[in-house]
């Protein structure tokens, strides 16, 4: 030990420390973005009126929804095949008309990683804009709810995140 202590002067110790710390600050950075489906138009959402807007108008405004609750048909024992003129045909509009609710979503995800030599940090955050529309028995909008979750997506991971990481 004494021999080693003699060999390493103060300058050499500093060099050693620099050598050991250098790998910690040699960094690589990874960023990724995922976009799924199309953003929902808030101007169109503002045109939805409870008890007024029909299912056909909703379909015209927003197109086909990502999710449809269509279980009622099977729940009351009506087989889908009977609604189709030929097996394998595109389902008729009645099948959509009987749906009780539509869900429209637009999802985004941000990924970020710091790749240091001795330490790695990775973060993945996925949020969605979601519009759920409920219909009454006459096929008119009974209720709807919208939340713009993507607005809460931090752009640069923990650097721009509000609250505790």
């Amino acid at each position: 030990m004494q021999r080693h202590a003699r060999l390493l002067t103060r300058g050499k110790w500093a060099a050693l420390v620099r050598t050991l710390i250098a790998p910690l600050i040699c960094t690589g950075c990874v960023m990724g973005r995922v976009y799924r489906d199309h953003p929902l138009d808030e101007a169109k959402i503002a045109r939805l009126e409870r008890g007024v807007t029909t299912k056909a108008q909703v379909l015209e405004l927003f197109g086909p929804p990502q999710e449809i609750e269509a279980r009622e048909l099977t729940a009351i024992g009506i087989p889908f095949d009977a609604l189709l003129s030929r097996r394998g045909d595109k389902p008729p509009e009645e099948r959509i008309v009987t749906a009780r609710w539509f869900r429209y979503t637009y999802s985004r995800a941000n990924a970020m990683a710091l790749v240091l030599l001795l330490f790695n940090y990775a973060e993945f955050d996925q949020k969605s804009d979601m519009l759920v529309i409920f219909f009454d028995g006459d096929g008119r909008v009974e209720d709807f709810a919208y939340r713009k979750g993507t607005a809460e997506l931090p752009r640069f991971g923990f650097l721009s995140r509000r609250g505790r990481p």
């Binding site: 869900r103 790695n120 996925q126 949020k127 209720d143 709810a145």
Partner: protein
């Protein structure tokens, strides 16, 4: 200190250990005050207004159920490796996966029958 010795030390240091921390967030933190939803009084409209669109909707024989979920996981690992052979001597990993959830059950007329919630994402240790 001679350069080859320094390089050797650096290589050994690099090969010896590594640490990884990862975070994943799925969905948006639950908004609204769950306490404002009163079973027997609040309607589906009240729930949608207060909590927004649900993550999942279940159709039950005696009414619907809304589920709201916000999920997070925290992961950390520490590894010790042989700098020459690359053999991993020791690995320690820890992963916490917690959720905030709200379940709202409606009766046939769309009035809240039951509500339950738990919030666990804030309890997760940072490391």
């Amino acid at each position: 200190m001679r350069a080859p010795l320094r390089c050797l030390l650096a290589a050994a240091w690099l090969g010896l250990c590594g640490c990884t921390i990862a975070r994943s967030y799925t969905g948006t933190p639950l908004k609204g005050e769950v306490e404002r939803i009163v079973p027997g009084t609040s309607t589906r409209s009240d729930v949608l207004r207060e909590l927004g669109p649900p993550t999942q909707i279940f159709h039950q024989t005696n009414g619907d159920a809304f589920v709201y979920t916000y999920q997070r996981w925290n992961y950390a690992s520490f590894q010790l490796r042989d700098p020459i052979t690359g053999t991993t001597w020791f690995t320690y990993t820890r992963r916490f996966e917690n959720r905030d959830r709200v379940l709202v059950i409606f009766d046939f007329t769309g009035v809240v029958r039951d509500i339950a919630w738990d919030r666990h994402t804030e309890e997760m240790p940072p490391l």
